[in-house]
């Protein structure tokens, strides 16, 4: 089982090395949006500091929706998704390996994007750490939902509109928990409860996405 999983993971990593352009387009989209928000809000440091979390998550949400297509739709169009299925790879492993590689690819740019956020949005060290943990714990669920969104698009024969209509409501609870701010929270204390909720959210999302993804992938070939 592990051997099969590593084979799939190796394949995804190999393909991703070739998709290095994704990282650059993701980073440039992230950076441009961040600059738009910063200049749009103006030089009010207090306001920027208050809004940093929703700003970062909004940008992340849209950039993930934009780039997630590269991971599944391309494989569907060139027939490699079908190839994996008729070679006997289980659908759950296909989806899981894609999610891991997507997470790795997306998390790399954050090593320099989040420190940049802290400069532009005037974050102190505690807020910077909090935001980094928030992104690391929240993005896996975001990625999993985007995978289901793409699979649904394939199932309904590539209607992008449906992707948004059906999937958008599933993003909302995640966005609420990632962007919410505890009124008692001070900028020097990291809110651990929020992180536990994000871990819980991931643990709920993972089996749901794997099972529904498996069902969709089986239906796609019909």
């Amino acid at each position: 089982m592990m051997n099969i999983f590593f084979k799939l993971l190796k394949r995804e990593i190999k393909l991703s090395i070739d998709r290095i352009s994704i990282i650059t387009s993701y980073s440039s989209f992230f950076l441009m949006s961040l600059l738009i928000f910063t200049f749009g809000i103006g030089p009010d440091i207090g306001k920027l500091n208050e809004l940093y979390s929703p700003i970062v998550w909004l940008i992340m949400l849209f950039s993930i929706i934009l780039i997630s297509e590269n991971f599944l739709m391309h494989d569907y169009r060139d027939g490699s998704l079908r190839e994996l299925q008729y070679l006997g790879y289980s659908e759950e492993l296909i989806i899981f390996s894609k999610a891991i590689v997507m997470f790795l690819i997306l998390i790399i740019p954050h090593f320099f994007l989040i420190p940049l956020c802290s400069i532009l949005l005037n974050l102190n060290l505690t807020e910077l750490i909090s935001l980094s943990i928030n992104v690391i714990l929240g993005s896996p669920s975001l990625i999993l939902i985007s995978i289901i969104s793409n699979l649904l698009t394939i199932q309904v024969r590539q209607s992008k509109v449906l992707q948004f209509v059906i999937i958008m409501p599933f993003y909302i609870p995640l966005i609420i928990f990632t962007t919410s701010r505890n009124p008692n929270e001070t900028s020097d204390i990291i809110d651990l409860n929020k992180f536990l909720i994000l871990i819980g959210f991931f643990l709920i999302t993972l089996p749901i996405v794997l099972l529904s993804g498996k069902m969709i992938l089986k239906e796609v070939n019909k």
Binding site: I4, K7, K10, R11, K14, L15, D18, D78, G79, S80, R82, E83, L84, Q85, Y86, L87, G88, Y89, S90, K218, N221, K222
Partner: protein
């Protein structure tokens, strides 16, 4: 019997494609599914490899039900679908190596070069797939047959895009495979006139699949 299709029924888009379809493929036998576009040839191959589940009936490959083979599918047969699962931004040899890893087909660089030479692709081995013509891509796909050790070959329109010289080569490959105890089930919209090949005619209009001769091995109904 290497492949047995027992009383298959299949509906697609509210149309009956197969009604109690029976089919047997022996060792050292080539069978050609012949029918017009949309007659159900690809659907039949997709059912054989387990991509589509028939509404009723059973498919047995090498005495195992297709649903029970699971991850060992890649050792039981090789399937070349109409859409080759190639990555356009990978070179010819990288694509074949990627396929080899996924299919657990081990080969040396020397063996790969030898097989590429057979289909006049050696000079193109480092060329990106996106730079190749349809015929060249088809030949890259056919190299998989020479590298694989599977006895059952399932091929969807293998002669499409090939010139007459390469068609002759492929026919020789088929005959050699049969001589070595292998079996081939191929789908084509024209009669390929391969020596001693059993033709199975599939006609969607009559909602049936009927063999040309009355051989018991080809006893499809209606």
């Amino acid at each position: 019997m290497i492949l047995e299709i027992i009383s298959i029924n299949l509906f697609r888009n509210k149309k009956r494609i197969f009604k109690n379809f029976n089919f047997k493929l022996k060792k050292s036998q080539i069978a050609a599914l012949i029918g017009k576009n949309g007659s159900g040839k690809t659907s039949l191959l997709d059912m054989v490899v387990g991509l589509i589940k028939p509404d009723s009936g059973q498919i047995i490959i090498d005495r195992c039900d297709i649903d029970e083979i699971g991850e060992n599918k890649k050792f039981k047969f090789i399937y070349l679908p109409f859409i080759d699962a190639f990555k356009e931004n990978f070179s010819v040899q990288d694509n074949l190596k990627l396929w080899g890893e996924l299919s657990s087909v081990k080969f040396t660089q020397k063996k790969l070069d030898e097989k590429l030479k057979f289909f006049d692709l050696f000079q193109l081995k480092n060329t990106l797939l996106s730079k190749l013509s349809q015929g060249q891509k088809k030949r890259v796909s056919l190299v998989k047959l020479l590298l694989s050790k599977c006895t059952l070959w399932l091929l969807d329109e293998p002669f499409n895009s090939l010139d007459s010289e390469n068609m002759k080569k492929l026919k020789v490959v088929f005959l050699n495979h049969r001589k070595n105890g292998g079996s081939i089930l191929l789908a084509s919209h024209i009669d390929l006139k391969i020596k001693d090949t059993k033709n199975v005619y599939i006609k969607l209009e009559k909602i049936n699949a009927k063999p040309k001769d009355n051989n018991d091995n080809w006893n499809s109904l209606r």
